[in-house]
C-alpha cells in the first residue's frame, strides 16, 4: 500500500490495516475487553456479596477475577509485543499510560484473587471490595486512554 495514499472510510474502520497489520494488536483488541468486563463484573458481584452475604456471589467474584486475570495476562503479553513491534503504539500520546494503567490493574487483581480465597466474609469485606473498586478504576482509566490514541493505533478515528 503506498504510504501517501488517502485513507478510505472502509479502511479506517478495519483494524488489521493499521498500523502495521499487527497480529499482536489484533489479539489485544480481542483480549483486553474480556479482562475489563470480567473485572467490572467482579466488582458488581462483590457488591452483591457485601449486600447479601450469599456465598454464590463470592464464588462468582472468584471465577470472574480468575477469568479476568487469564485473559488479562494474555492481553498484557499481546500489548507488550505490540509496543515492541509497533513504534506508533509507544509513541502515541497516551500509549504508555494505557499500558501502565492496565498492568497495574492486573497486579491489583492478582492480589485481589488471593484476598478472595478467604473462607467467607473477609474475602470481600473490606479489602477485596476496595481492591475490586481500585482495579475497576484503573481498568476504566486504561479504556479512557484509548479515546486519545491516534487512528493508527485503533484504526477508527481521525
Amino acid at each position: 500500500m503506498p504510504a501517501n495514499r488517502p485513507i478510505t472510510a472502509t479502511e479506517t474502520t478495519f483494524v488489521a490495516e493499521y498500523p502495521a497489520r499487527s497480529v499482536a494488536w489484533t489479539l489485544y483488541l480481542l483480549l483486553f475487553p474480556v479482562a475489563v468486563v470480567a473485572f467490572l463484573a467482579a466488582l458488581a458481584t462483590d457488591g452483591a456479596y457485601a449486600a447479601t452475604a450469599y456465598l454464590m456471589w463470592l464464588h462468582f467474584s472468584e471465577w470472574l477475577i480468575a477469568a479476568g486475570l487469564a485473559f488479562g495476562v494474555l492481553a498484557a503479553l499481546a500489548l507488550l509485543v505490540a509496543f515492541v513491534t509497533t513504534p506508533v503504539a509507544r509513541e502515541a500520546r497516551y500509549g504508555p499510560a494505557h499500558l501502565v494503567l492496565f498492568y497495574v490493574a492486573l497486579v491489583v487483581e492478582l492480589v485481589n484473587a488471593f484476598v478472595h480465597t478467604a473462607d467467607g466474609w473477609t474475602a470481600v469485606v473490606p479489602t477485596g471490595l476496595v481492591l475490586s473498586v481500585l482495579a475497576a478504576i484503573l481498568a476504566l482509566a486504561a479504556v479512557a486512554t484509548l479515546f486519545f490514541v491516534p487512528v493508527e493505533w485503533v484504526g477508527a478515528r481521525r
Binding site: A53, L55, L58, H59, E62, W63, A66, V100, V104, V107, V108, V111, A113, F114, V115, T117, A118, D119, G120, W121, T122, A123
Partner: protein
C-alpha cells in the same frame, strides 16, 4: 501508586504487618491456651511434607523403657485399629474416593497441593476391614484375613454384644459377629444413614457405644472449613450424633464440633470424650485443636466462634445469641496438629503414670510453616481430668521435613500395648513396655 501497591502486596505476602502470631505451641496446651489475634497471609503459609514412607527396618521413636514394632505392614491406608476382647485386632483400611465439587478456583489448586501429603496410599485395595490374629500375643500376627470388604470409606467400628457396628462415611452398618470368627456371619444391615456426598469434606465417621449397649455415638465432621459452603451443606454436621440401636432414631448429642473424632467413653464413667480438629486460615497458631469431654446438648462454637466465644468474623450471618451459649473445650493440643485418634490407657503393662491417661493420634497438617502434630501425644489424667503438659510419646514420623508416616487411630490392646494406625506409612505399630 505502583510502588505503594507493591509495598502493600509484599506486606500481605509476608503477613508481617505486625501480627506474626509468634506463639510457642507449648503455650497452647491445656485448658487456657494462648490465643493470638487472627492473621491471614495473602498466600497461605503452608508446608506440605512429601510422603516418603518407611524404609525397611525404620520405626517411629518411643521413650526409653518402651519398644515399638510393626504389627502389620504393606497395608492400604490403614486409618483405624480396633482390638477385640479375644485378642484379634481389626484394621480399618479407608480412603475417600469421591471428589469434592469445584465451586471456586481455590479448590483444585489446594487439592493439587494437598495430594502430596496423602501420597503413597499403597497400591492395594482399601475400604475394608482386616482381622489380625495373634494367638500367642507376641505382637506378630499369625494370620491376616479380610473380615469385611467393599465398604464405603469406613472409619469407626464398635463391638456391641454379638454385632459389629461399622461407620461407613454414609451410614452405620450392623454385621452379625462374635469375636473369634474370622468372617462376618451375614451381610451388613443399615442402622442409619449419615450425612455424606456430594461434598463430604470431613468424611471420617468416628463411632463408639454406651456402656449399656443401647446407644451409638457417631462423630460427623463439618462439610467446610468455616461454613464457606453455606449453611445448607452443614445440616446435622459438625456434631456428635446419638443413635438408638433398637430403633435407629437419632438426635444430635452435641454440636459446634468442627471435626470430632476418637469418640471414647472415659473408662468406668459415662463421660464421652472426643478430639476435635479446629478451623484453618486464621494463622499458623489459630485455632488450637482440642480434646474435650462432650456435654450433652452443648454447643462448642463452630462455625460462629472458636475456643468458647471468640467470634470468627468470616462467618455471616453472625449468631451472637448462639455464640453466648458456646462452651470452652477442656484441653488444647495446640494448632493444626489434626488429632484423629484417642485412646485412654486402661491397660496395666505401662508404668503407673500412664494409667487412665489419654493417647492422642495427631495426624499433622500443613497449615503452618513448621509442622505440628505428626506424633502420638500422651496426656496424663487425674480424677478423670487431663493435667499437665502433653508428652511426645511416639515421634519420628517426620524426617528432614518429609513424612515417613502419619498416625491416625490409636487403641490399647488386650495386653496393654498401644496400637497405632499409620495411614500414609501403611503400617500398624505396636508399642510395648520394654521388659527390664
Amino acid at each position: 501508586m505502583t510502588f505503594r501497591l507493591a509495598a502493600l502486596g509484599a506486606c500481605m505476602v509476608l503477613a508481617a504487618c505486625g501480627s506474626g502470631q509468634d506463639v510457642d505451641p507449648a503455650a497452647q496446651y491445656g485448658p487456657t491456651p494462648s490465643l493470638p489475634e487472627p492473621s491471614r497471609a495473602l498466600l497461605p503459609r503452608m508446608h506440605v511434607p512429601k510422603v516418603i514412607g518407611w524404609a525397611s527396618g525404620e520405626t517411629p521413636t518411643v521413650p526409653q523403657g518402651f519398644r515399638i514394632d510393626a504389627m502389620a505392614t504393606g497395608l492400604s491406608n490403614p486409618r483405624n485399629v480396633y482390638p477385640l476382647p479375644n485378642g484379634d485386632v481389626l484394621v480399618i483400611e479407608s480412603k475417600k474416593d469421591a471428589k469434592e465439587p469445584v465451586e471456586r478456583p481455590k479448590r483444585p489448586v489446594m487439592a493439587w497441593i494437598e495430594a502430596k501429603a496423602h501420597g503413597g496410599n499403597g497400591g492395594g485395595p482399601s475400604n475394608r476391614i482386616l482381622l489380625l490374629r495373634d494367638a500367642n500375643g507376641d505382637g506378630k500376627p499369625d494370620s491376616q484375613t479380610v473380615l469385611i470388604d467393599r465398604l464405603n470409606s469406613p472409619f469407626g467400628v464398635v463391638l456391641v454384644g454379638d454385632a459389629l457396628y461399622v461407620a461407613d462415611t454414609d451410614a452405620v452398618l450392623r454385621f452379625p459377629f462374635t469375636p473369634g470368627q474370622t468372617s462376618v456371619a451375614g451381610p451388613g444391615m443399615k442402622v442409619i444413614d449419615l450425612p455424606a456426598g456430594p461434598i463430604n469434606h470431613h468424611w471420617t465417621k468416628s463411632l463408639t457405644a454406651s456402656a449399656d449397649g443401647t446407644k451409638l455415638y457417631v462423630g460427623v465432621g463439618s462439610n467446610s472449613n468455616a461454613m464457606e459452603r453455606g449453611i445448607e451443606a452443614e445440616t446435622d454436621r459438625a456434631a456428635i450424633w446419638e443413635v438408638d440401636i433398637a430403633t435407629g432414631a437419632f438426635r444430635v448429642f452435641a454440636r459446634g464440633l468442627r471435626n470430632p473424632n476418637g469418640l471414647t467413653f472415659y473408662p468406668g464413667s459415662d463421660t464421652l470424650w472426643a478430639v476435635v480438629n479446629e478451623r484453618d486460615e486464621l494463622g499458623p497458631n489459630l485455632v488450637p485443636d482440642y480434646m474435650t469431654s462432650v456435654k450433652r446438648g452443648a454447643f462448642y462454637g463452630w462455625p460462629y466462634s472458636y475456643w468458647g466465644q471468640h467470634v470468627d468474623s468470616r462467618v455471616r450471618p453472625q449468631r451472637p445469641e448462639l455464640v453466648q451459649s458456646a462452651i470452652t473445650p477442656d484441653y488444647g493440643l495446640s494448632s493444626h496438629v489434626a488429632p484423629l485418634g484417642l485412646a485412654f490407657y486402661a491397660g496395666s503393662s505401662f508404668p503407673a503414670q500412664f494409667r487412665g491417661g489419654a493417647f492422642v493420634g495427631e495426624h499433622g497438617s500443613w497449615n503452618r510453616p513448621e509442622l505440628n502434630g505428626y506424633k502420638v501425644a500422651f496426656i496424663r489424667f487425674e480424677n478423670g481430668h487431663p493435667v499437665g503438659q502433653p508428652m511426645d510419646f511416639v515421634t519420628g514420623f517426620v524426617k528432614d521435613g518429609q513424612a515417613r508416616g502419619r498416625p491416625v487411630g490409636v487403641a490399647v490392646d488386650r495386653a496393654g500395648a498401644l496400637l497405632i494406625a499409620d495411614d500414609v506409612g501403611n503400617t500398624v505399630w505396636r508399642v510395648t513396655a520394654a521388659t527390664p
